[in-house]
């Protein structure tokens, strides 16, 4: 996998806690290939957003990369000087955040903000050309009447339109990698469909890769080529999208799929995962999922030995001592309809 655009190896991120450092991301590794869409799924607090903030070099002051390495286009960026990160951010790597209302400046015109993203990387751009590029960008994300819209303020945009403006800003400098952190969570489902179409379209047009972070399994199922499922700061399972849904091999992935009500299946009682996700500062020994796991009940290995990701299929890995068992009694999801 020497060809991967982004390569994260054994990443550890620690936050300062009242009783010493807390490992919020614990030896996470993943790769994103050229023009690939990687979906990262996990519940709140699973470490998915923090991993990507680490990639962007945007961790808060109370956090640090304690171990591991991050390579972009073959070069290490986890220890890169701030000047280099500034050139990368909004350039070759750009990020789209969940809430466009808080990530746009309310007192600046939309066009000014998009123009700023261009100027930061090309300060000499003449004004007229800048205006043209801003309007072309807005048009490319489906904002009607871009000349007028560029002169409006964020509050004059609806939620879906704001997210389009954010996408325009993110693609202003032709990024190779787009990181979209819950890009449609704040949007309604009919608007979400529009915005996802735009996102996929800009990735194709720019030949860019994308990391889509979300808690919505349905959304990644539609969009991603490959999926990584995170639980309590670690990757529980990673697989090509079809394989993950056809043969979930970690009890947590299975639990998530089972607890999801769907528009198709008929179920009297949802099969929920008992208990709560663990406190990061006090993870259970062994497998962090074992107190909630039906498979691991009473098995000594689960409470003493931490399972590492191991191969269970083609490009398919799960961090479970009994992954074969978890997968084996899983009826194929497609057939379950």
């Amino acid at each position: 996998m020497s060809a991967s655009l982004l390569s994260v190896r054994d990443l550890v991120v620690e936050f300062d806690g009242p009783h010493g450092p807390v490992r919020v991301v614990d030896e996470v590794s993943f790769d994103v290939g050229a023009r690939e869409v990687l979906g990262i799924v996990g519940e709140s607090g699973s470490g998915k957003s923090v991993s990507l903030l680490a990639v962007m070099g945007l961790l808060p002051a109370s956090a640090r990369v304690a171990a591991g390495e991050i390579r972009f286009d073959g070069q290490r960026i986890d220890d890169a000087p701030e000047a280099r990160m500034r050139a990368l951010r909004g350039g070759a790597i750009s990020m789209i955040f969940q809430d466009p209302m808080t990530s746009l400046n309310p007192v600046l015109r939309i066009g000014t903000q998009i123009g700023e993203a261009i100027r930061l990387h090309a300060p000499q751009t003449p004004k007229a050309e800048l205006r043209e590029r801003v309007e072309a960008l807005l048009a490319s994300v489906g904002v009607p009447d871009p000349a007028t819209r560029a002169r409006q303020f964020p509050h004059e945009f609806s939620g879906g339109m704001r997210q389009r403006a954010m996408i325009a800003m993110a693609i202003a400098n032709g990024p190779k990698l787009l990181i979209a952190d819950e890009p449609t969570t704040a949007l309604d489902v009919t608007i979400q469909a529009q915005v996802m179409d735009v996102l996929e379209g800009v990735c194709q047009d720019n030949h860019a890769s994308m990391i889509l972070v979300t808690h919505d399994l349905g959304l990644v199922a539609e969009t991603a080529d490959r999926i990584a499922v995170m639980y309590s700061g670690r990757i529980a399972e990673t697989a090509p999208t079809d394989a993950l849904f056809a043969r979930p091999s970690h009890p947590y992935t299975r639990g998530l799929l089972d607890s999801l009500p769907t528009l198709d299946a008929e179920h009297d009682e949802l099969r929920s995962i008992p208990g709560q996700p663990p406190d990061m500062a006090a993870r259970p020994p062994g497998c962090a999922f074992h107190p909630r796991c039906t498979l691991g009940q009473g098995r000594p290995a689960c409470s003493s030995e931490r399972p590492d990701l191991r191969t269970v299929g083609i490009r398919h890995a799960a961090a479970c001592h009994y992954a074969e068992e978890a997968a084996g009694d899983a009826p194929p999801r497609e057939a379950a309809q």
């Binding site: 904002v143 199922a221 539609e222 528009l263 949802l270």
Partner: protein, 341 residues
Amino acid sequence: MRAAALEVAGLSKEFHVRNSSGWGRRALRAVDDVSFAIPPGRTLGLVGESGCGKSTLGRMIVGLIPPTGGTIRLGGETVRASRSAAERRGIQMVFQDPYASLDPRMTIHEVVAEPLRINGLYSAGKVDRLLTQVGLSPDAGQRRPAQFSGGQRQRIAIARALALDPRVLILDEAVSALDVSIQAQIVNLLRRLQRDLGLSYLFISHDLSVVRHISDEVAVMYLGRIVESGPRAAVFGAPAHPYTQALLSAVPSVHRRDRTSRIVLEGDLPNPLDRPEGCVFRSRCFKAAPRCATEAPALAALDGDHRAACHFAEPTPRDRLARLAPADRPEEKTASKEDHP
């Protein structure tokens, strides 16, 4: 026939908002002539996108805001504008955000005891029973909200809502803020409580999959109006209103990963201050015709209890929805005339 646990007829709410000039006020019709009935022990799921008036409707029913028009009947009796204690006890509410809806300074015992004390019904044993009923141990009563996770807090909010033995619970996005695995626990709890206590639910949510799972009847709201309603199997199996059809086709699913089967609506929800004449949905509708601009469609029966407010209502099985609307590339069809000015 037994009286419905909750029945609303012609319920409307107008807010008066300031003009953009700052002079004078305009009427914003948030809820427009809404009627439905929920039988005892049943659930009505109310679906709609943000700003469609579903929360305003819930708040009117529970008495937090006075309606502009229409009636609310609880167990066959019309609820008066100034509610009696019994009427207030009969309808209780669970809110979306369990981080905002519990007083952080109160112990859990006090949170659940508060409605009982106000009504002079307090006993420590009753609070313990309520906590047990929602799956918490009575010992939890001594702790404060900060020590609980989102799912547990929502259990506490449910215990508080149940304290006065209501007949109707309004659940306003009650599981929307929770993670999937926890959401399933709370949905199962709600269904068990309904079976045990014979409660009626108005389950307000934007999540169609959860609504389908929990509801007996479903109503779909758009811009203050119910555009389609009926038994769950009818509305989800063969939606008739173009808006419901688009909503259902747009839900991402782990089972149907075929993006081409989606109907992508144009534009955004219109500004409710400036609602389209005629049918409120016509500005985004793929079936819109000249008639829609002049004549507002009434909520008319299609088949038994299945109703839709559309001149061209046509119950269509979900797997055939894709054939209804042309699947253009989104870049070409994003013109949004109705964006907020």
